[in-house]
Amino acid sequence: MSTNLDRNLQIQINEVTTKLRRRQLVESYVTASEIIDLLRKVVSSLKWTSANAVIKIVSEVGAQLSAAQSLQLITDNIVKRVICVIQSTTSDSDYDSDSDPKSLILEELREMLEEISSIHESICKQAPEHIHANEIILTYGKSYTILEFLKQAARKRKFEVVVVEAAPSYSGHEAASLLADAKIETTLITDSAVFAIMSRVNKVIIGTRAIMANGGLIAPAGTHLIAQAAKHFAVPVVVCSSSYKISPLYPHEYDAFTELNSPAPILHFDEANIADKSVEVYNPAYDYVPPELVSLFITEITSCPPSYIYRLIAENYQSKNI
């Protein structure tokens, strides 16, 4: 770090960086709150000199966080939003005559943090609008947002859920177990049965890791298969996500935003007698889903089709910043 930050603060930044590197921050809303919190502390510890100086420091912290987990786009998104907030508060008002700009910024960040805790409520409030009685809903793997969404809908509607297990992470197992505990009729199927069962599914509701600027998704591996099958059977695909997952980046390559995980869960080295030959085993973590396959985005701000995402980006990330 080129600037001198308070030593305690530096320790805290390093802590969050380590958590990111170790993949200990799994759920997106937890990640988002931690990062906003951290940036709030950074801004509050600084002496206010000029907006640009503060922005520079925040960018440096952001760079350090992004380097820890390069595909965690949420980190980048939040940093960009904070910078946007700083710019908009200092350019709107004339800070020579006005009150302390730093307190305004901190106020905004505190609001942002509060919003994070109520994001799921706002998304789930829309649940009964989109699910009718006796529907069969398909979901993929485990997403905290989707689980809350379905539980909220189950309070008002009676429907069935088919959960796809999402090998090799098997996150679908936990999701099915939680949904069954919430008294929702759940069926767990293997990835191979998706095409077979899709003809009887009424809606696909999935979560995502990130939403790209063109409305495409970066979602857990296997989501593209689900979305494509849904298109073949004309089943609408609904994506529930919070708005801080919307990234201003474009997916220039299909594998630009995915990483390959360890092949051990797929083919353990003692499972096939191929030790002396070279066999590539692919275990991609994420898939890119093109925007044509998505019917609707449900965010806490609004429900919109993929073609509207560029407006949300313009609102949240001013063009000067991108």
Binding site: S177, T190, I274
Partner: protein, 471 residues
């Protein structure tokens, strides 16, 4: 009525029906002495309720009689004593939840019904996935000793062994199961002794029935097995004019010829055709394991073509891993992934080669669950899909989805993580393990068979022209 006029034959109008009914029953019981000359005592008029009671009682008696004779299934239709409308006939048909297609008492004919009922515990109805409740639910195969104790005199040991091997997954794949079945039948024929003055064909047919039912009980028959058994029975019926020894010899030859022509030689011809479609620098994607595809890849490799294979596998079976091992040992450059990575892999693929368990007459293919997804992704990326399938697997059925006809596998295989250890106790949770999948014909670019490379629309033509002679 005390005249001597002969009684005119009565017209059975509804008004008089009840009296007729009653007089008829009286005759049966020998009470009435009515003849033309005697006066008929007026029968007491019964109320509607009393008459209905008598009818219901007679129906129940008849049902019991038929069950004890083994002619009616035990989980029987609901007799609705209050029926006044036709909707209850629909109820009768729908009430067969949880019953298997083949009843156990047909399998173990010589045993008491009670014993056999205890052997089979039907799947609890609440754990059935409603969409698939019309299919036979998965039941754990019987343990070896149980089967031995009860079935030994009726079911030949080789069929017993085959059934257990198929049930626990030692023999998988339609070709393997088909060949194993025919070879088991060969041993059955070898040990079969016709009683004097009887036709071997008829007796063998009768004694094969419980064996085939046993195989179905272990695992529902694949369409290839069903076709092979049909062929076997056809040939068996043509041995009526031969002596026993000649008939046996004839059957051995026919079975051998079938296996050689329809499976082994067919695979070689298919491999040649498919290998001719593989070019240098191809990246071939294949799904799970198919013997025809494996042979094709090996032929292409021997023909000095430089290509790479990506094996897309499902996590439930070991088939894909065995194929990987075979191909790697052969020297082919291979990669491996699960079906969730299909999107990642399809971007670089140039061709898709899959096998099929059966081909339907509308051009749809039935194969291992997941093949439909692979074909769909390939189609979305404009990649040609070649289905390698022998003609004996063609059948005249037509199906439009993977739900009307499928096989349900062991749900415990799905529960592979510790989270689902107690899934049975969760009321709202069901596990589904589908074995088969329907690949729509629009995703199939061509079907490679031993009679040539065909479009999917040619399947009914093949069924008509080739099967009517030989099957």
């Amino acid at each position: 009525m005390a005249d001597n006029k002969p009684r005119r034959p009565r017209v059975h109008s509804s008004n008089n029906f009840d009296e007729h009914f009653n007089s008829a029953t009286d005759k049966i019981e020998g009470k009435s002495k009515s003849n033309f000359l005697q006066p008929v005592e007026p029968k007491p008029k019964l109320t509607k309720a009393q008459r209905r009671e008598i009818q219901d009682k007679q129906r129940a008696d008849k049902k019991e009689r038929l069950i004890s004779e083994g002619k009616l299934p035990l989980e029987s239709k609901n007799i609705n004593s209050n029926n006044t409308n036709s909707s209850t006939t629909n109820d009768n048909v729908n009430k067969k939840k949880g019953s298997k297609g083949i009843k156990p008492d047909q399998i173990f004919e010589s045993l008491e019904k009670t014993k056999t009922q205890q052997l089979v515990a039907p799947a609890p109805a609440k754990k059935q996935v409603p969409l698939f409740s019309h299919l036979p639910q998965y039941e754990r195969p019987l343990s070896h000793s149980l089967v031995n104790r009860f079935a030994a005199p009726i079911i030949h040991t080789s069929v017993l062994k085959l059934g257990l091997q198929i049930a626990n997954g030692t023999i998988i794949g339609s070709n393997a199961r088909c060949v194993a079945t025919l070879l088991a039948f060969k041993s059955v024929i070898a040990d079969f002794e016709t009683s004097k003055d009887q036709l071997m064909a008829r007796e063998l047919d009768k004694s094969l029935k419980p064996m085939i039912n046993f195989l179905v009980y272990c695992r529902p028959l694949a369409i290839s097995m069903a076709n092979a058994i049909k062929f076997f029975k056809l040939k068996l019926n043509s041995t009526n004019s031969l002596s026993e020894a000649e008939a046996k010899q004839f059957m051995y030859e026919q079975i051998d010829q079938f296996i050689l022509e329809k499976i082994i030689a067919a695979d070689k011809i298919i491999a040649n055709h498919a290998a001719s479609k593989i070019e240098n620098n191809d990246i071939i994607v294949t799904f799970a394991s198919s013997s025809a595809v494996e042979t094709a890849l090996k032929y292409a490799f021997e023909g000095d073509k430089k290509f790479r294979v990506i094996i897309v596998d499902i996590r439930q079976t070991k088939e894909g891993k065995e194929l990987l091992q075979n191909l790697v040992e052969f020297g082919i450059e291979c990669s491996y992934c699960l079906i969730s990575a299909i999107s990642y892999v399809m971007k670089v693929a140039s061709k898709v080669l899959i096998g099929a368990s059966a081909l339907l007459s509308n051009g749809n293919a039935i194969s291992r669950a997941g093949a439909g997804s692979v074909a769909m992704m390939a189609h979305a990326h404009n990649i040609p899909v070649l289905v390698c399938c022998e003609t004996y697997k063609f059948c005249e059925r037509a199906l439009l989805d993977s739900i009307c006809f499928n096989e349900i596998g062991d749900p415990e295989i799905v529960a592979s993580t510790p989270i689902l250890k107690n899934w049975q106790s969760k009321d709202n949770l069901k596990l589904l393990n589908l074995m088969y999948d329907l690949t729509p014909s629009q995703f199939v670019s061509m079907i490679v068979t031993e009679i040539g490379i065909l479009p999917p629309t040619s399947v009914p033509v093949v069924v008509r022209e080739y099967h009517k002679d030989e099957m």
